[in-house]
């Protein structure tokens, strides 16, 4: 499979990968969601994580930003092992990353301007006047100049996402994460968000990770893509490589082929009979 590096310790040098995952496994309440994910993201690269609903792509993103702890494996960000460092070091790395959440996750009790200013107020000793200028700059960058005094509830879905991007950009991050940037937006607004991502990539050479299931948007913004299915990396490669891939699962995803209906029922039956004893065997103590 092209693009997957050998699972050795990643190099710490400046031109080494920005993000490295080594056999990362994540479990929720005893159920494993990610079964050993390994890949690298280079500096300045835009990686799109593709996958269907329930494929584990959102969990993967949450693991990358440190919201989920891997049960085993390593997440390296900017040359540091994210799961083996102190709280302070983790916070230092987090100041270098920006995350745009699916629904924006703007703080409802603060204005748009205060939302963007928050990381600056919390982490820097800048003067209020400087912060004001920076906020205006960041909002300008996402095409929201003049909206400082609006409350998030007064913004449309697309504007909320833009404001969230402005907040993610506030600390001039080296890595930017996007969770479903175009979900729930009309095609024109979604195209605007794509353009914004492209602009950021060109202007600042940021490392950008986007989780999406929108193929059109993925083809447009990605340098490389990785397809996740049921918690495993199915394929990874450049846009061309993915488009020309002969891997059945990749083809199915690229050509938008639905799961075969008959096989699905049989699979379902099989899945039920296979998984029943594993999930909850009747306790022998109950009858006594």
């Amino acid at each position: 499979m092209p693009g997957i590096a050998d699972p050795t310790r990643p190099s710490v040098s400046l031109d080494g990968p920005m993000i490295s995952l080594r056999e990362v496994r994540v479990s929720y309440t005893g159920r494993e969601i990610l079964h050993g994910i390994t890949f690298d993201v280079q500096r300045g690269e835009t990686l799109v994580i593709l996958g269907g609903s329930g494929s584990g792509k959102s969990t993967l993103l949450r693991t990358l930003v440190g919201l989920e702890k891997p049960s085993s494996g390593e997440v390296w960000i900017a040359g540091k092992n994210f799961s083996a460092i102190s709280e302070t070091e983790r916070d230092d790395i987090r100041k270098k990353i920006g995350m745009s959440f699916q629904g924006g996750a703007l703080f409802g009790s603060m204005t748009v301007g205060e939302n963007v200013a928050l990381p600056l107020r919390e982490h820097t000793k800048l003067e209020e006047s400087t912060i004001d200028i920076m906020v205006r700059l960041k909002l300008d960058q996402v095409g929201l100049s003049g909206y400082e005094q609006y409350m998030p509830s007064q913004l449309s879905g697309g504007m909320k996402k833009r404001a969230a991007v402005a907040r993610a950009l506030a600390m001039d991050p080296e890595i930017l994460f996007f969770d479903e940037p175009s979900a729930g937006l009309d095609p024109i607004i979604a195209a605007g968000i794509d353009q914004l991502i492209l602009d950021l990539k060109q202007a600042f050479r940021m490392t950008i990770i986007v989780v999406t299931h929108e193929l059109a948007s993925a083809f447009l913004i990605a340098d490389r893509m990785v397809l996740i299915n049921k918690g495993d990396v199915v394929a990874m490669g450049t846009v061309k490589e993915m488009q020309n891939s002969t891997h059945p699962r990749v083809r199915q995803f690229m050509d938008r082929v639905p799961e075969p209906a008959v096989a699905q029922e049989l699979d379902y039956l099989q899945m039920l009979t296979e998984q029943q004893p594993r999930q909850g065997s009747p306790s022998p103590g109950k009858s006594r």
């Binding site: 949450r62 930003v65 440190g66 919201l67 983790r90 916070d91 230092d92 987090r94 100041k95 990353i97 920006g98 995350m99 959440f101 699916q102 629904g103 996750a105 703007l106 703080f107 409802g108 928050l118 990381p119 919390e122 982490h123 907040r167 600390m171 994460f177 306790s283 103590g285 109950k286 006594r288």
Partner: protein
């Protein structure tokens, strides 16, 4: 066998819940009292806003309720005292039971209804809309950012509200005293003050401080442990109210017992 296992599991659950409460309260207290010396200032503005919301805006409803409670206490104690011809003891009965027990307790219950539930709903909504996650990815500690200002506001406002509640209760009792027990206003107030020892008031205030800690910890913990979905926010809010009322009464029992034995010696 099965029964024993269930009881065991329930006990372990309850203990781990109490442990989480203590851990959260401990982190909030650390951020409130030690954090500022380590260069992590408290969000004072937010604490003042919370104090306004949880404290000052609770005054009208709290006044009304405790006034009525004072009046009820006077009526109930007069029912028994009248048989001994000791109606002039109504003032001390009301003053002592208000400041030792009912003032702190009624205040706590009003605050649970107004603020404990609001904490759970606010933080729960933030959890559901990924705002708590957003704070974490911005390297901002949600406990320091959200819980600490509430914590500071509550441990200061609850004793203040309790003093107010005690006074309103005594005022309520005086209405009965003046109308039915041949007191004048000044004589009633005087008799109330005469009956109260500083110890009565202080034990009530210590309790109300502990209630403040409990209500904040439960409200915030329920908010922070909200699962996905809007209906979970409702569930957290309900749980916050029920658990807070239960724990406040438990804390009340523990401290009243403690004061009883401390006072006996």
């Amino acid at each position: 066998m099965e029964f024993a296992r269930k009881v065991g599991a329930a006990v372990i659950n309850a203990l781990s819940y109490l442990g989480s409460l203590a851990a959260l309260a401990g982190r909030a207290a650390f951020a409130a009292f030690i954090g500022p010396f380590l260069g992590r200032p408290v969000r004072f503005q937010s604490a003042v806003e919370q104090a306004m919301e949880a404290g000052v805006r609770a005054l009208p409803i709290l006044s009304l309720i405790t006034f009525f409670i004072g009046l009820i206490l006077a009526l109930q104690s007069a029912y028994e005292l009248k048989r001994f011809g000791a109606l002039n003891y109504v003032a001390s009965a009301v003053a002592i039971s208000m400041s030792r027990e009912l003032g702190p307790l009624i205040t706590a219950i009003v605050v649970i209804g107004r603020s404990g539930s609001a904490f759970a709903a606010e933080i729960g909504t933030m959890k559901v809309s990924e705002e708590i996650d957003a704070l974490e990815t911005m390297a901002i500690d949600p406990v320091h950012f959200l819980v600490t200002p509430k914590f500071i506001a509550m441990v200061f406002m609850l004793p203040c509200l309790t003093i107010w509640a005690n006074s309103m209760g005594i005022l309520g009792g005086s209405l009965f005293g003046v109308l039915q027990a041949d007191f004048t206003w000044t004589r009633y107030i005087h008799a109330s003050l005469e009956a109260l020892f500083l110890r009565d008031v202080v034990t009530g205030l210590i309790k109300s401080f502990m209630f403040g800690v409990t209500i904040t910890a439960v409200g915030c913990l329920e908010g922070l442990s909200t699962g996905g979905g809007a209906e979970q926010v409702g569930r957290s809010t309900t749980r916050a109210v029920v658990v807070s009322i239960f724990l406040v009464i438990l804390v009340d029992l523990v401290f009243t017992t403690l004061f009883f034995f401390l006072g006996a010696h």
